[in-house]
């Protein structure tokens, strides 16, 4: 029973990572940049939901929607102000800018909400599910997280396959210049990508803080790094890859915590990543890049 319970916890944590990793992977696929500020957008989303529920006493659904709207706007603004001028700059310059944005968001949060951790109330209203006479308890957060993850995954797949903007996104990630020649507005496409990624980050932030209820200005950084790892794990740029990578990462983390060592779980997660990258240098579902001479 402990095994199944760990399995479920792993999938739940992995689903959160997967939702964050989707944001990383989409932005990487289209703008070819590592958006290190993504983890802090999660934190902003969680704070927004927290404020909406605690100070404005909004219902959870409204709080999540508010957080998503704020993060979407934030994502678009960050992209327009910080990343757009650097569209043609070296990837390292963009990376450092992203880190600057990350510092900026953390410090704004620090000024507004202070460094003391806030205790986040779960957004989920119903009770945990108890199975096998209470030997297996599935928390309501787990159920909601996994369902949210599946819905997001399906929605995003449909969006990229069926809609005009989604097809445009795939075209831009394939070849930016050719897409532009075909009449796709690359700037709008990149903005939309940031908007979607940031909205997903808001959802991930709320789900993360519902499961692990301490909220601080640095809450987003470690999950952000891990989700980034998950995106690389699955093959960065690939949407199913991010999903797979996220879930695998969550499982590895929970199982190594349960069976090997709590303190070393992060080391194990990263060690597995390294092994995977050595065997498959572009991740599990990553495309092989042919090199032209």
């Amino acid at each position: 029973m402990t095994f199944i319970s760990n399995l479920i916890n792993g999938i739940s944590l992995g689903s959160v990572y997967a939702i964050i990793a989707l944001g990383y992977t989409m932005v990487y696929g289209i703008a070819k940049m590592l958006n290190f500020a993504h983890g802090d957008v999660i934190m902003v989303g969680a704070y927004m939901a927290f404020c909406a529920m605690s100070y404005l006493s909004l219902p959870p659904i409204a709080a999540i929607l508010l957080a998503m709207v704020v993060c979407t706007v934030l994502g678009i603004v960050i992209e327009a102000l910080a990343y757009k001028p650097l569209r043609k700059a070296s990837s390292l310059a963009v990376l450092i800018t992203a880190i600057g944005v990350s510092y900026l968001l953390q410090n704004i949060a620090l000024l507004i909400w202070g460094s003391a951790p806030k205790s986040f109330n779960s957004v989920v209203g119903f009770d945990s599910i108890s199975l096998f006479d209470g030997r297996l308890i599935i928390t309501s957060e787990t159920v909601v997280t996994v369902i949210a993850c599946i819905v997001i995954m399906l929605g995003l797949t449909l969006f990229t396959k069926k809609t005009k903007i989604g097809k445009g996104m795939r075209a831009v990630s394939e070849d930016k210049d050719a897409a532009e020649l075909m009449g796709i507005n690359v700037n709008v496409t990149i903005s939309v990508t940031f908007a979607i990624g940031s909205a997903l980050a808001a959802i991930a932030g709320v789900l993360l803080c519902s499961a692990y209820p301490t909220l601080m200005p640095t809450t987003g950084s470690m999950p952000g790094i891990k989700a980034f790892t998950a995106a690389v794990f699955g093959g960065i740029g690939s949407i199913p890859g991010a999903m797979l990578g996220g879930i695998l990462l969550g499982l590895i983390e929970i199982f190594s915590k349960a069976y090997i060592s709590t303190a070393l779980s992060d080391a194990i997660v990263f060690a597995v990543l390294i092994v995977v990258l050595l065997v498959r240098p572009t991740g599990i579902l990553g495309k092989k890049i042919a090199e032209k001479v």
Partner: protein
């Protein structure tokens, strides 16, 4: 004047680097001895030296080898803690402080070099962002392991444990490294002079390396890996050499850094520290050693200088970082600067400016 102009680039960089460091040293040391420097700045001298060494060594990987490393603090961490343990082993001996520091720095450098070799062998097979993420992963792994490591020294030698301090079984001695608490009771033997000497050593190694056959091979690999390989350059060997040397120097810096504080924990050397050093390198200019030294000093002092803004200082730091990156990299600003420059330029210089502008596009 003509001679300065005709000087080789190597000589000029050398003079700039060594001159700058020595000048700063000659000015600051008497001031420090006379107690004219405020306490907070005097406390920053050794960390600044450390970070200059870190940034110059990272510049070897990022600027000259052209590979993004996000785990440089990991090597600093290895150097710091192995240095601390080495000094703890020498506790009873009558050796003077500078010998102890030297031993710590050498041991720190060697162990960080070994770590660099372990990391480097798999890492250099990867490329681009994947290499970056693996170095990040290694940095986190090193942090995590040291966070769980308990080490003690007694008359029977060194004791290691991964679970608790009690398991070390020490005989009348207290543990040196206590897991998440880190190392405590470190003798504060780092001095400004030793820091400057380490910078000079680092400059000597790095500047001579990049002007040697190895250095030219390394920059050739950066500029075009396939072309370099086709003229018979052993990519793995040269990449590994540069990577390990960079790790060794970071380890030495780590040992110097640790000896400046009475206690230090592994979480000091996390991802943010790696990023901090990377920011110094990028703002100083990749492959530009004098620029790195200046950028490190200014950026390290910036939060200190902004102290009057209290809570807002890191905010200002972040804004400065973003604005500088956009100002130095944005196409539009580059074109604008070129246009302004061409207005003020004399006629005979104009073709040159036009040529540069064309090249940038």
């Amino acid at each position: 004047m003509e001679r300065i102009k005709n000087m080789s680039k190597f000589t000029r960089t050398n003079i700039e680097c060594y001159g700058m460091v020595l000048l700063a040293f000659v000015i600051l040391l008497p001031l420090q001895n006379a107690g004219l420097i405020s306490y907070s700045i005097a406390g920053q001298l050794v960390p600044i030296c450390t970070y200059i060494v870190m940034a110059v060594s990272l510049n070897l990987t990022v600027g000259f080898l052209g590979e993004l490393s996000l785990g440089h603090a990991g090597f600093m961490s290895v150097g710091a803690f192995s240095g601390v343990i080495a000094v703890a082993c020498l506790k009873g001996s009558a050796a003077p402080d500078w010998t102890k520091l030297l031993v710590a720095i050498i041991v720190g450098g060697i162990l960080a070099g070994v770590a660099g070799l372990i990391v480097g062998v798999p890492v250099i097979r990867l490329r681009g962002d994947y290499l970056a993420i693996v170095t990040l992963a290694f940095g986190e792994i090193i942090k995590n392991i040291i966070n769980c490591l308990y080490v003690g020294v007694d008359k029977n030698g060194l004791h290691f444990s991964m679970t608790s301090a009690d398991e070390l079984g020490l005989v009348d001695a207290s543990p040196v490294l206590k897991g998440p608490q880190g190392a405590t009771g470190i003798p504060k033997i780092s001095t400004f002079t030793s820091g400057v000497l380490l910078i000079l050593f680092t400059l000597f190694v790095v500047l001579n390396l990049i002007n040697s056959k190895t250095g030219r091979a390394v920059t050739a690999i950066r500029d075009n890996r396939i072309a370099a390989e086709s003229v018979g350059i052993n990519i793995t060997r040269y990449k590994l050499t540069a990577f390990v040397i960079s790790a060794i120097l970071a380890g030495m810096a780590g040992a110097l850094y640790a000896m400046n504080f009475s206690s230090i924990a592994a979480r000091k050397f996390d991802f943010n520290t790696s990023i901090l050093v990377l920011v110094f390198v990028v703002l100083g200019g990749m492959g530009n050693i004098p620029g790195t030294i200046i950028a490190t000093t200014l950026l390290y002092m910036l939060p200190e200088l902004l102290r009057q803004f209290a809570d807002y200082r890191m905010l200002i730091y972040a804004v400065v970082l973003i604005v500088v990156m956009i100002a130095t990299n944005s196409e539009r600003i580059k074109l604008f600067a070129d246009r302004i420059r061409s207005v003020f330029r004399r006629d005979d210089d104009v073709p040159d400016a036009a040529g540069k502008g064309g090249g940038a596009k």
